[in-house]
């Protein structure tokens, strides 16, 4: 056995397979802070050298990148592979999904663990890992969706964060597909728990009640087609929930991440709150940058249903441009695809009722090209910002920077050679995504990946796409990302509740009797044992004397007046018995 391994090591490096040694010549390296022209040498899945006139071992595969950009591989913050919705499963699984991602220049995805109702988070996590590990072609991270709140969930969150490489949790504030809305009353506890663990809570922000009512209204008007989807989920419902999420988070001093910012109103809310110093991040999906809600009114049912996603695309046709402006300007920070595809026959579950149309659309393959076309080609952002919104910022938020999201020595060799001169027209007929529809159909993008290096292996080149099933890895995300928690930790030191030390109030005070009616004015003496303060003490003995034997102390902390509503005092302007303003 030992002798079988030795020869491998003895093979001189220039005779070993060149597959894992790649030398990129003459390209312009683009990071989120600067760009410069230099060569890149990659070995064993890691960027080993960057510079000019590099000495590289013979036998390396040389890739000419003159006139092209060398950018960090994309990090897609939001994919839903193998997602179940209304009993049907998205055709893009971890294999075909990550394969499509790589084809489009994305080399890391963040997917979601979706536990069933009452299922243990850890079980769901393990099952998701098993399914994904065997299939993924590129590296991936996971977020865990929370569906309920109890002590077990709280403990499992800790185990996930400490031992299982999870640093973000997701909640739905409204029902989406099979996902039930997270109970609003315990959002506060969840945010607090996340802060304790150094994890980030990502929220799907829509107001569930509002949507429910609106849906009834729309149905009562006899609207059953996909246009009902957008009519029943108005912009206001989204913006309100965004505001609420941020408010709750800031009360707890926790960071919050808004998944899928789809409307001008909610983008404005995020922008305003960021200016006030709230730690909030906004994610935009390429669909929102390239399409608007008019699609839902398309005469073809299949076409309109293909766009059904939550929150929906907006009717305001200026939304895509506006979101691009804010993305360019760092009012919104990252892009994810929210990739969750369904074929026509699956969408047709809801052919007579928009409420049953499986929710989701494609994007993981198209994201980089669409963002490039809409923001760089349009002059709204420069290429450094493009790198920031497609990989670097996400890597910082999810704490895998600079391993991902940067072209630097020591970073993972997830590298895309981006050709700004090639054009690619997106179409369902030529895509790698495993679905029969593409929401960007016919969009010509003037920029596409010409080579994709994924974990040190050339996955896309002029010969096409080469991926290995199971070739990707799970990337454990460490909690307490500096980018997210740096300010939070500093504020924790500052924002302690302040308490004023006062003399106890000893003037006249009203109080409630046990049956809830107001008692007349009396002076509450601060001293125990006086006859007026008797309700604070033990019941009288059978003979009517004061009970000095039994202790009124209770282990549970229960007080004798727990049944009386708490009320510190009440100002009465016209007390029974007349007002007295002078000292008598």
């Amino acid at each position: 056995m030992a002798s079988a391994r030795t020869p491998l090591k003895k093979v001189p490096i220039h005779l070993q397979s060149a597959q894992l040694r790649v030398f990129i010549k003459g390209g312009r390296i683009v990071n989120d802070d600067q760009s410069f022209t230099a060569d890149v040498y990659i070995e064993d899945g890691v960027i080993k050298q960057i510079g000019n006139n590099l000495v590289v071992p013979g036998g390396s595969r040389i890739i000419e990148a003159k006139g092209k950009f060398i950018i960090p591989g994309g990090l897609d913050t939001c994919t839903h592979f193998e997602q179940t919705c209304y009993g049907t499963v998205s055709p893009d699984d971890f294999y075909s999904g990550t394969r499509a991602a790589i084809a489009g220049g994305t080399t890391t995805v963040i997917d979601f663990v979706v536990p069933e109702v009452n299922q243990s988070l850890l079980d769901a996590y393990k099952r998701c890992r098993e399914s994904a590990d065997a299939k993924v072609c590129c590296d991936y991270l996971l977020q865990v969706c929370l569906t309920d709140w109890n002590d077990k969930v709280s403990q499992e969150m800790e185990v996930l964060v400490k031992d299982n490489g999870i640093n973000s949790f997701h909640v739905f504030m409204a029902n989406v597909g099979d996902q039930r809305a997270f109970p609003e009353s315990v959002m506060y506890q969840v945010l607090k728990r996340c802060r304790q663990l150094g994890a980030l809570l990502t929220v799907h922000a829509e107001n569930g009640c509002l949507i429910e009512e609106k849906t009834k209204e729309v149905i009562s008007h006899g609207i059953a087609g996909p246009e009902g989807h957008v009519l029943s989920r108005p912009e206001e419902a989204e913006a309100e929930a965004v505001y609420r999420a941020i408010a709750l988070a800031s009360m707890v001093n926790a960071p919050v991440y808004i998944s899928k910012v789809m409307s001008r109103m909610s983008a404005d809310v995020i922008h305003e709150q960021r200016r006030k110093g709230k730690v909030v991040f906004g994610e935009v999906i390429p669909a929102a940058l390239a399409a608007d809600g008019s699609q839902y009114f398309n005469r073809s049912w299949r076409h309109a249903a293909g766009f059904v996603m939550s929150p929906p695309l907006r009717l305001d046709s200026t939304t895509p441009e506006y979101l691009t402006d804010l993305l360019a300007n760092d009012d919104l920070q990252v892009t994810g695809s929210d990739h969750c595809t369904f074929d026509a026959n699956q969408k047709a579950i809801g052919k007579d009722d928009f409420r049953k149309i499986p929710v989701g659309a494609n994007g993981t393959e198209d994201r980089l090209s669409v963002v490039w076309e809409k923001s760089v080609v349009s002059g709204k952002m420069d290429i450094n910002r493009f790198v920031a919104v497609t990989s670097a910022t996400a890597a910082k938020i999810f704490n895998v920077y600079p391993r991902k999201g940067r072209i630097a020595v020591g970073s993972d060799a997830d590298v895309v050679i981006w050709d700004p001169n090639s054009t690619r027209t997106i179409s369902a007929s030529s895509q790698q995504q495993k679905t029969d529809f593409n929401i960007f159909e016919g969009l010509t993008c003037r920029g596409a990946p010409s080579v994709v290096i994924n974990g040190g292996c050339v996955s896309v080149d002029e010969d096409g796409l080469h991926v290995t099933q199971g070739g990707g890895r799970f990337i454990p995300a460490v909690s307490g990302s500096e980018f997210v928690y740096g300010r939070i930790r500093e504020r924790e030191k500052l924002n302690k509740p302040s308490r004023v030390v006062r003399e106890p109030y000893s003037g006249p005070a009203l109080s409630y009797t046990s049956n809830g009616t107001l008692e007349s004015v009396k002076v509450v003496s601060p001293l125990p044992g006086t006859e007026k303060g008797e309700e604070f003490h033990n019941r009288v003995t059978r003979s009517g004397g004061r009970n000095l034997q039994d202790s009124s102390f209770s282990l549970s902390g229960a007080q004798i007046d727990d049944n009386v509503p708490q009320r510190a005092g009440m100002k009465v302007s016209q007390p029974p018995g007349g007002k007295s303003s002078s000292i008598w």
């Binding site: 360019a328 500096e482 500093e490």
Partner: protein, 508 residues
């Protein structure tokens, strides 16, 4: 004094760049950072600094100083020696000063004059902005020479100081257009000079002659109006704009709105506007009130400093300067009977880093990475010298500050290194002080004191076409060409205008 070739090893500190922080050693050789890594070997000749528990940050870049500036009949007391020395003492290792030619003077002549003043005296590296105070074909061609050959990539235009420095709107338009053509950034001092001139007269007539008149003659809306006008002109010329000393909430809001509309606008709050307010103009002590006189003035809305810091933290404002232009009591007294004659300017070049740390990081508004971005990295990008400056990385200049977040210092005119006899931050306690300051590989400040050499700093040329501004601008030029519609010529009836201005019908 250690020789240039001395090696310096900073051990155990936490390196903070704008994008991340990590614990590593830094090796400095020949004025450049030559290695960064874990447990770097110590050779015998290397001097070792233990930075355990401290932050290793890029030296500050003060984007806005007026050292040795002839202004309002006198010259600011911090010259290029004392000013840069004070800068180094506070953790700033590079300043960008302004060449201010008088009306009619050649920009090149003024530039040479400033270089001659600065080169023998500066203790840290410096660059220059050039002000455009008048307009002619000569100015236009000199701007091109400055950008191409002289290392100037920013031109500042005054919208205030009527009759001395102010440019009219048409000249502003030309200056913006030319800045854009040569790949430079247009900067503006945004205040409506004409309104101010009228306001000053009104106040003097009303008998308000003290420093409080300075504030009242330059209300917030006057700053906001000019900021909006500058943004409009920048939009029309498709020129990147840089608003210097953003002093008020309303101006900051305009800068932030403009960016949301996609304009390339940078906003620079200064240490003074982040650290103090205009309430001081109403102080009973004339010297105290006059010590705060600067333009635009500090705002008496006491929520302003916190608001500007919020915007700086959230990325709506970008970089920080000081507008350091100090005058002693006797100089300020030129205006003892008329506030409009008080020389404008305050200190800050030494205090900036500590004030921003105190008001930004200690309050939890920004993290250490953002602190680095607003005090150096973004400035280095805008002035196109990144990553030579503004980053702790292999190959960057060894302008490094070892920052001690646990020590405190109380700012006072008695102990500061600035040459003037007054400090607007008097008594402010700052949690966070420079422990060591290293400029071009030389230790210029250590716990024992400040050691600098006049003339040891160098002029840093700023190349044109900074990527952070111009890559978007260039793309937009390609897109936003004027559109023309091809039409059939109009053949119907048309009136013609006679010489005597009477319209009459005319058959075709």
């Amino acid at each position: 004094m250690a020789s240039q070739s001395t090696k310096l090893l900073i051990k155990g500190g936490r390196i903070v760049n704008e994008d991340q922080s990590f614990i590593a050693d830094v090796l400095i050789e020949n004025g450049v950072i030559s290695d960064i890594g874990q447990d770097l070997g110590v050779s015998n000749e290397a001097q070792v600094i233990d930075a355990t528990g401290k932050l290793v940050i890029p030296g500050g870049i003060d984007t806005h100083t007026h050292l040795q500036m002839p202004f309002m009949g006198t010259v600011s007391v911090d010259d290029f020696y004392t000013g840069t020395r004070a800068a180094l003492a506070g953790g700033t290792t590079m300043i960008i000063d302004f060449v201010v030619p008088s009306k009619g003077e050649s920009l090149l002549v003024a530039y040479d004059r400033w270089r001659q003043w600065a080169d023998p005296k500066v203790c840290c590296d410096y660059s220059l902005h050039v002000c455009v105070t008048w307009w002619s074909e000569q100015v236009k061609s000199e701007m091109e020479i400055l950008a191409k050959d002289k290392g100037v990539n920013s031109f500042k235009m005054f919208m205030a100081y009527k009759d001395t420095l102010m440019l009219e709107d048409s000249a502003l338009y030309f200056a913006f257009e030319q800045s854009k053509r040569v790949g430079a950034i247009a900067q503006v001092h945004a205040e409506n000079g004409s309104i101010i001139a009228e306001k000053v007269k009104e106040l003097i007539d009303a008998g308000v002659t003290g420093p409080e008149g300075h504030l009242q003659s330059r209300p917030e809306s006057v700053e906001a109006e000019a900021t909006h006008r500058a943004i409009t002109i920048a939009e029309q010329t498709n020129c990147p704009l840089y608003v210097v000393h953003v002093m008020s909430k309303s101006a900051a809001d305009l800068v932030s709105q403009a960016q949301r509309k996609g304009l390339v606008v940078f906003g620079e709050p200064i240490a003074a506007s982040l650290g103090t307010t205009g309430a001081h103009y109403f102080d009973k002590c004339w010297r105290h009130a006059a010590g705060h006189v600067m333009s635009p003035p500090l705002r008496d809305d006491h929520t302003t400093p916190g608001y500007l810091m919020d915007l700086l933290a959230s990325g709506d404002l970008h970089l920080t300067g000081t507008d350091n232009c100090t005058f002693n009591a006797n100089q300020k007294a030129l205006g003892k009977n008329d506030f409009s004659k008080i020389p404008n300017g305050v200190n800050g070049v030494e205090d900036r880093m500590s004030v921003i740390w105190e008001k930004g990081v200690v309050t939890g508004k920004m993290d250490a990475c953002r602190f680095v971005a607003v005090t150096s990295s973004t400035a280095a990008k805008v002035f196109n010298i990144y990553p030579q400056k503004g980053r702790v990385a292999v190959g960057s200049d060894a302008d490094v500050v070892i920052w001690n977040p646990d020590r405190t210092r109380v700012i006072s005119a008695k102990t500061h290194h600035q040459a003037c006899d007054f400090n607007i931050f008097e008594g402010m306690e700052c949690h966070g002080v420079p422990f060591y300051v290293i400029a071009r590989g030389q230790i210029v400040r250590d716990p024992h004191g400040v050691r600098v050499v006049a003339g040891s700093g160098r002029f840093v040329p700023n190349p044109p076409y900074a990527e952070i501004a111009y890559s978007r601008i260039r793309r937009r030029d390609q897109i936003n060409k004027p559109r023309k519609v091809e039409r059939e010529p109009y053949k119907g009836e048309a009136i013609t205008i006679n010489n005597n201005d009477n319209a009459s019908n005319n058959n075709v």
